[in-house]
């Protein structure tokens, strides 16, 4: 009896499993002085996985009895995950070496986190969503606590673990209710059932939807489930923070789009109101908190809460238009957020002092003009100033809202965006208008330079040719 499995379609995932396990075993044989090759191997594995996805483009396949879809929507997200992972790995090597913690497990865990995200992006069944989500989350619990000799890292991991497990229990309870109401866990099956029985169990279904929003809202650090993010982002090793902030958020948004915009589209009156309110609260609260932070890592954590709020506007708009804007935003977010945390990682390690306080950025323009310029461009992009990727990401999302007759929502978003410019540009003010304290040496390792250069190219590439990428995203979103 041969089950329905399309092996070519899951080749990227197979690649990550086989080579990821191989990487783990091989890491025992790598000698201390060659530890750098571990990162190179991990990047090679990710590149191979990315290459195996190219022939799958425009050939949508649904396999594993309808529970796993390899369509353009999934592939777009998978490339975003791979990109964020490669950029984060380039930041990791020298950071870990300085901590004396460059072991093979780090990269293996990172590869399996990517695998979990890929499974989430392709999942067309609640069970598969759950397994992918947990594969990603459990590896992230380990990665956040990776610096096990450091209390900050321990505490962040413990906090992330407890709140993460708490939220996934809510998610599961919601899933179990949906299964009870519809009798199936297939997202397509749920859609069909609810289309045939539009009035079925509105009250339990509303409860289930709220619980699923709690569970996934935690992963995208939506207010009021964002309490973990500033602490976890600050306590985790900075390259992990960079990857966590982009990868986990993108994967959760992929699942949200699949479940809500595709599966529960007929029940939109049950969730759009709630998600709209949460979007407004999320961006506003994130902004208000970010303004007060003097620690750049913490400020970036709150700023990613704010960005989750903007992206939720795209979810509210819904349909293929809204989904495409979310996808474009995630891609640009991968470039700018990994880059911004990367600058923090670079500065953190060579300054000789611990921490990522705003004061450490004072006079950076004199100490290391190139690094300051990179940070300036990243901050401009995060603030949404043209011609950067960040500007077009927000522009498309708010245009989508305007077209969907949610003009007030777009206005709130734009006001928030204007406020956010204050704390992003404050970093620039510190870098360019303050004198440095002492004469700390700032040296950026070569691999970090590559990663930062890729981020800058990405930001301006998306900023100069946004239409082409948006068209790509739209074509991907149309099919799912």
């Amino acid at each position: 009896m041969m089950p329905d499995i399309h092996y070519a379609a899951i080749l990227p995932e197979l690649c990550l499993v086989v080579f990821g396990l191989g990487h783990l075993m091989l890491s025992f044989t790598v000698r201390e002085e060659n530890k750098g090759s571990l990162a190179a191997m991990a990047i090679l594995i990710l590149a191979v996985a990315g290459a195996t996805m190219i022939p799958l483009w425009n050939h949508p396949v649904v396999t594993f009895a309808g529970s796993y879809a390899v369509d353009n929507f999934a592939l777009f997200f998978k490339w975003v995950f791979l990109l964020a992972a490669v950029l984060a790995i380039l930041h990791s090597g020298s950071y870990l070496r300085q901590e004396g913690m460059e072991h093979g497990e780090y990269y293996t865990l990172l590869l399996f986190a990517v695998l979990g995200m890929m499974v989430m992006a392709s999942a067309r069944d609640l069970m598969v969503v759950y397994v992918g989500l947990e594969l990603m989350s459990i590896t992230f619990y380990c990665l956040v606590g990776y610096l096990r000799g450091r209390l900050g890292s321990n505490e962040a991991a413990l906090k992330y673990f407890i709140l993460g497990a708490f939220s996934s229990a809510f998610l599961l309870y919601g899933f179990s209710l949906i299964y009870g109401i519809t009798g199936t866990t297939s997202i397509a099956g749920i859609h069909t059932f609810l289309a045939a029985h539009p009035e079925a169990m509105a009250a339990p279904l509303a409860l289930a939807i709220v619980m699923v929003i709690v569970g996934l809202g935690f992963k995208v650090s939506m207010v009021p489930f964002h309490f973990w993010s500033p602490d976890v982002y600050t306590g985790a090793p900075t390259p992990v923070t960079a990857f966590l902030s982009v990868g986990s958020e993108a994967a959760a948004f992929a699942a949200i789009l699949r479940i809500f915009v595709s599966g529960l589209s007929g029940q939109s009156e049950l969730w759009t109101g709630l998600v709209t309110a949460l979007a407004v609260i999320t961006m506003t609260v994130g902004n208000l908190m970010a303004i007060q932070q003097r620690d750049v890592k913490r400020m970036l954590a709150y700023s990613s809460v704010t960005h989750a709020g903007y992206i939720l506007v795209g979810v509210v708009v819904g349909g293929s238009v809204g989904s495409a804007t979310v996808m474009f935003y995630m891609l640009s977010y991968a470039f700018m957020n990994v880059g911004a945390f990367g600058v923090v990682a670079a500065l953190n390690r060579t300054d000789g002092r611990e921490g990522s306080n705003l004061d450490h950025f004072a006079g950076l323009a004199k100490l290391h003009p190139a690094l300051a310029a990179v940070m300036l461009m990243l901050m401009l992009s995060l603030a949404g100033i043209p011609p950067t990727a960040g500007f077009f990401g927000k522009f498309y999302i708010f245009m989508g809202a305007v077209k969907a007759n949610l003009i007030w929502l777009a206005i709130i978003g734009m006001l928030n965006s204007a406020v956010s410019a204050y704390y992003y540009l404050r970093v620039a003010v510190y870098m360019y208008m303050r004198e440095p304290e002492g004469e700390p040496q700032v040296m950026v390792p070569v691999s970090m330079r590559w990663s930062l250069a890729a981020s800058i190219i990405g930001i301006f590439g998306l900023g100069l040719f946004p239409d082409a990428v948006l068209a790509l995203a739209r074509a991907s979103a149309a099919a799912f």
């Binding site: 759950y130 947990e134 619990y141 096990r148 413990l158 906090k159 309870y173």
Partner: protein
């Protein structure tokens, strides 16, 4: 008393267990107790899934339970490891001692 147990009974029990778990996570101060409350929540979900599977005579719910169990085991292993690492550095498991990063 004969015939099958009505669906409401296991659902009510599951809701009760889930609530107890939530309250436990929010009020307990010891890490291990918080951890046990989390497992209680997951088992409430399992009860739900099994009850629905029995009611709708579909096997999916039972398969889901298998996955929830195994994932919960992996989660428990990682959680315990994190708790041990934390304990080694801090020598306490009290949530109130989390003061390096604000809770």
């Amino acid at each position: 008393m004969s015939g099958p147990i009505p669906l409401q009974w296991p659902l009510a029990l599951s809701a009760l267990l889930f609530t107890l778990g939530v309250v436990g996570v929010l009020t307990r101060r010891n890490m291990i107790q918080v951890f046990m409350s989390l497992e209680l929540m997951l088992n409430a979900v399992n009860l739900n899934l099994v009850a629905f599977a029995r009611h709708s005579e579909s096997i999916t719910g039972q398969v889901f339970v298998l996955f929830v169990f195994t994932v919960a085991a992996a989660e428990a292993a990682v959680g315990l490891a994190i708790i041990i690492a934390f304990y080694r550095n801090k020598q306490t498991l009290n949530v109130d001692e989390f003061n390096l990063l604000k809770w």
